[in-house]
Symmetry: C2
Subunit: 412 residues, 2 copies
């Protein structure tokens, strides 16, 4: 007989889009429980609920207060948890649902993008001890003032991992509509291969680069506390991708995947004076306005000035432009230009650390496809290039081939 | 200039059915605030939300757990309060929304029909002191276990009155889609007249008898703590009906109104042994199953046995029948029969206390219309008759005439 594990299972909005799917999720959860494990389930809002609520709010106000928006949005997950509890009851098992506030998910005050500060697990543990399946609303918590907060995009993943950490769970299952993490998006590269194992660092780079199966912040937390994250399909019982610390088997794999992100825009501040503190001025102001900057590129200066470029999510572009223009004016820089017709193409792999020539191979592959590289940025386990958007998918396929990531005859 | 009052305003589901109406409610609330008053607003769920949520639950389970149903239903009001806060912000005023749990509405454990035990007003007072309009989700609270509870049908009225009590408010405005309390339902009696003032006791009898503008429990609480309740239209600025302790002006009015209720069924237990404790056995068992019994009639016995009849809400009929049959069997009584084709017709008036002949006048009026009276029950300020349902409206009009309740040339 198996050891009795504590498993946290997270199901996203598409997994609970309607009553039929909720029943399927209930079945899945009950199977895990009947296999002898303790189960804590985290669910997102039903399918389109989030959009419907945003539409309602939009009919009332174009600039709704973030506190009230959180109050509104949090109802979505509350509906899901109640319905899932009912569905599990129908299968004859005991289950109890909770809001984020009820299970003591304490966050800071940043409405709409709150960070989890602490989780008081007393109530969950008490319910698990009674033999119940515990269902928790994802994406939400409350601040010290007992106001409802939400954790931002992909927040349910974070709820799941944070609960797994707080409860010292054995594993955190993230159920999605794909079978795991792939070497590249299969819609772009048909012979993309599912990865059986992946390190947190690789997944972090993948997640932040657009392999949007798991939210990056949640992987960061999982890494910090060593919680294994199992990304798997809600439609099949097959194993997905297990994300853990770097494992032996991975060390001879140089590049794990190719990642493509098309939801960013490039911003350039021209003629930034070449003196200390200029970058700090710019990026401090952006940070204060909660703009998440991704790549930052600054090359050597010419004639006492340099250009500073960076990328941001497209939805942040209007706010970014206002801040960037203000900062540019203040430090005596030149024009601020933007470009939305870009894509970011990256290769990720823990093996890069010990292998030279990976960058060269990447650039050569793109050159052979005659894809121009506009910006380059590298980390220890990642190399990213900004290219024209219309060439991005072709370049991704070329890289996938160049690093031999396609389906192999023998097991991966 | 007016004294600065503390006003609690309650708006029902039809008043906030869509964004346009929510904006109108916001306008109304802001007008009160700009007139110099502190305002606490209580709102119900948007129009059909409650039904939509019940339908969802019904697709998952025919017998959902009440705790989970409360978790689900409470989201309806949470959506309303957030949207109303946004709408008030749009008008340039400061407002903040709360769930029942957040403003410390503590209830007992009876999910679906919880009773308010206590309200901790600390948070509301703090927000009012900051000059904010406070918006509270109606219908909901939490128990000592921090589980969400709901207060049952009409629960938002109760939330409003209970908040008015806890905050020592000057008045509790209940906004509805009618202009106040009428001498009879104007759809049945075209010349029914709006009452300017009414006593709590009269309103209590009216409310429990089917003048469903205000929930009876909330009037009971208002009476106990002496909170004036102003029933008024959300569509006009006109005064509605002010409900307070019996006022001088009312003492010469014998009968205030005629009330008709068609949502009850009659249950009769035949041949109940005529010995002590039989009625107690029956109604204790019904009470334990949370069945709300309305009228109870037991006449003198014949041959050592008697028939006991009572009325219950039609929706409670299946549960009632099970309990009544069980009880009848246990105490050695006979068959249990039901009749859904009945209606309850009542006259209500604080003046009855000091006037004789009111009952006789009522029965004569019905006799003249050849309406048979099947059961009679009286209280100090009310006389109710059970009649065939198809005759009920005609009888109501006859009573309205008999007690001269129609529109008068001079002001009421």
């Amino acid at each position: 007989m198996n050891k009795r594990l504590l498993v946290v299972q997270k199901f996203g909005g598409s997994s609970v889009a309607n009553p039929e799917r909720i029943k399927r999720v209930a079945q899945r959860v009950v199977e895990t429980e009947r296999a002898g494990h303790h189960v804590v389930v985290v669910v997102s809002a039903l399918g389109d609920t989030t959009d419907d609520l945003l539409t309602l709010a939009g009919q009332i106000s174009q600039t709704p207060a973030e506190r009230e928006l959180d109050m509104l949005m949090a109802t979505g997950e509350q509906v899901s948890v109640a319905l899932l509890a009912m569905a599990i009851h129908e299968l004859g098992e005991d289950a109890v649902s909770f809001t984020g506030a009820q299970v003591g998910i304490l966050t800071d005050n940043r409405h709409g993008k709150a960070r989890i500060v602490n989780i008081n697990t007393r109530r969950i543990v008490r319910e698990l001890d009674k033999g119940r399946i515990v269902i928790v609303a994802g994406f939400q918590g409350q601040n010290l003032n007992q106001d409802i907060t939400t954790l931002g995009r992909g927040g349910s993943d974070l709820t799941a991992v944070a609960l797994a950490v707080a409860l010292k769970a054995d594993v955190c299952d993230i159920f999605t509509d794909v079978e795991g993490v792939y070497t590249c998006d299969p819609r772009i590269v048909p012979n993309a291969r599912k990865l059986n194992r992946l390190s947190y660092d690789e997944m972090l780079e993948m997640a932040s680069l657009g392999a949007q199966v798991v939210q990056a912040r949640s992987i960061f937390v999982a890494k910090r506390f060593g919680i294994p994250v199992h990304v798997r399909s809600s439609f099949t019982p097959r194993e997905g991708t297990m994300i853990t610390q770097a494992a032996k088997a991975m060390e001879d794999i140089v590049v794990s995947g190719v990642s493509l992100r098309k939801d960013e825009a490039k911003v350039t501040i021209r003629d930034v004076p070449d003196k200390p503190g200029m970058a700090a001025e710019i990026f401090r102001e952006l940070a204060d306005k909660d703009v998440n900057v991704d790549m930052i590129i600054q090359n050597v200066s010419r004639e006492g000035a340099t250009d500073v470029s960076f990328t941001v999510g497209k939805s942040d572009l209007p706010a970014t432009l206002r801040v960037a223009r203000h900062a540019a004016h203040r430090i005596g820089a030149g024009d601020v230009t933007t470009d939305e017709q870009v894509a970011k193409l990256s290769i990720v792999g823990i093996g890069m650390r010990s292998h030279s020539g990976v960058a060269a191979r990447m650039f050569e592959a793109m050159a052979k496809e005659r894809v121009n590289i506009e910006m380059i940025s590298t980390s220890e386990i990642k190399i990213s290039c900004i290219v024209r958007r219309q060439h991005a998918e072709r370049a991704a396929r070329a890289l996938h081939r160049a690093f031999d990531l396609g389906k192999k005859r023998k097991g991966a």
